[in-house]
Amino acid sequence: MITREGRAKAAKLRDRFEAAGAQVVEPPMLQSAELLLDLYGEDIRARAYVTSDALRGEQMLRPDFTVPVVQMHMAHGADPARYTYAGEVFRRQEEDPDRASEFLQVGFEVFDRTDPAAADAEVFALMAEAVAGLNLRAATGDIGILTAAVNGLRTSEARRAALLRHIWRPRRFRALLDRFAGRAPVPASRTALLANPQPRLGAAPLIGVRTEAEIEARISALHADAAAKPISAAEMELLDTLMGVRETVPFALSQLRDLTVDMPSISGAVEGLAARADALVARGVDVDTLDFEASYGRTSMEYYDGFVFGFYAAGRADLPAVVSGGRYDALTRRLGKGAEIPAVGAVLRPGLLAELEAGA
């Protein structure tokens, strides 16, 4: 439930972010369902309220601000730009009736190409200051490191693309990885298909939009995949070590640097993490006690592609993250119609903040 205290808190935080150099924006509450569906896929329907009218068709009550802010920026934003906003977002809750379906968010978004590490640190430090005194636990990660590791795998381009497509679905990612490493059995139907020199002979008449050429192309791709060498045990071990890194930032950094000896493809991303750590120190953040998890942020909606972070109330596992944020360069590319700009941002939930302050 949205309370007066929550609203007051939201207004204060937005003022604070405005004072930090952001322009206040007011994105519309109704968003094009088509765009959100195209970005997120069918899963968004389980999370967002859909409504419609005869003129505009399907609309969604905004499930977050990031997409409309990016759209607005890509259409006519200054470069660089900083934005802040406060308002309601709406989420369908089908699994947990205790989770709010309508709540306030206040956000801060940075579109700036000069120094991504500094922009990451700016957003993180601003959020940390806003929640200071509440004894929240911060979690950080970096999706870019895992992406770089996958891009460096010595395997076919098609396999790398399949893995990258499922970075945000850890279970499916693992299943694919096991298959590409030869650790999971090939389904019998596939073995039979590949053994058959003329698999389409005698098949039923083709119906629908998908063409013969597409079926042939996939069969060829399956033959190529079957001929590809499995991902080596050594590479699998490196990848597992990487995904298991869970340490304070300085120790994580040293473990990751050790890994770059055998995984040179991640060295750029790891140096990015080092630069971010320095930028955080410059902003007064104590990185020696800051946690870093290489797998953090992989189950969120798929738009964060670099730095990711969240702040959680210690001992309140029942509450969602009070703050969550990260870098979403790829989203600006998707919405930019050819243009792109490095972007990072975060949202916090003033309602939860007010609740925690009242309890503290």
Partner: protein, 228 residues
């Protein structure tokens, strides 16, 4: 009165009437063929409410009926957290059907959900839109495909003749109820080998939220005793 909700039409209604009759609870429609009114004999304190099978889950969850007969598929699709709202009392042994995912038989390269996911990715690249799956079971299908890690698909609503949507080019695949598979075969479709979403059958449910008044407790106890 204990209110018992029963599908208002067809074979499902007749089978339900037969099922209760073997338990000495006689249900019948009264008035003309077109009037949805019913009577109960053989037990006191129970009244019959004739409803569309698709509405029975909602009526149970709202507590407007105490007992209801409908398929597992409809309960699980229409009621989130259904276990908290309704309790299955008896599986009735008819109305058996599987909710499945099916694709054109001619797709010799697609046999598993894993294949479907890969085909969906390529399809989206080629055609610029997501592979469409026609169904009326939106929630069950979405949850099933999410658990299986299938991406790049879109659900399109289909309330009937779903097997025809692929040939009509309004969908590339379907998710629907099938009992014998004959309609699927006739429409050149095949079930994915791991495409079984749910086994459904007609089931007698009890609402967990409907109040039972003191004077109705005896009737409820008697109904439950006759089931066993």
């Amino acid at each position: 009165m204990i209110k018992l909700g029963v599908p208002s039409k067809g074979r499902l209604m007749e089978k339900t009437f037969d099922w209760f009759a073997t338990r000495d609870i006689r249900l019948s429609r009264t008035g003309s063929d077109r009037e949805y009114a019913g009577a109960v004999t053989g037990i006191d304190g129970v009244s019959l409410v004739l409803l569309s099978a698709g509405e029975i889950p909602r009526e149970l969850a709202a507590g407007r009926i105490h007992l209801g007969v409908t398929g597992t598929d409809l309960v699980q699709d229409k009621l989130p957290l259904w276990e908290q709202q309704v309790e299955p009392l008896e599986e009735m042994g008819f109305g058996e059907a599987d909710l499945i995912v099916a694709v054109p038989q001619a797709w010799v390269d697609v046999d598993t959900l894993d294949d479907l996911d890969a085909a969906a990715a390529a399809f989206r690249d080629t055609h610029g839109f997501r592979l469409r799956i026609a169904t009326k079971y939106h929630r069950l299908v979405r949850e099933f495909l999410r658990d299986a890690g299938v991406a790049d698909y879109a659900i399109v609503d289909s309330q009937g003749a779903t097997e025809g949507t692929v040939a009509n080019e309004t969908a590339e695949a379907i998710a629907d109820i099938t009992s014998s598979g004959e309609t699927l075969r006739a429409n050149h479709l095949k079930v994915l080998s791991d495409g079984l979403i749910l086994r459904s059958q007609a089931t007698l449910w009890r609402s967990r939220v409907a109040d039972v008044a003191d004077e109705d407790r005896a009737a409820m106890t008697e109904v439950l005793a006759r089931l066993g």
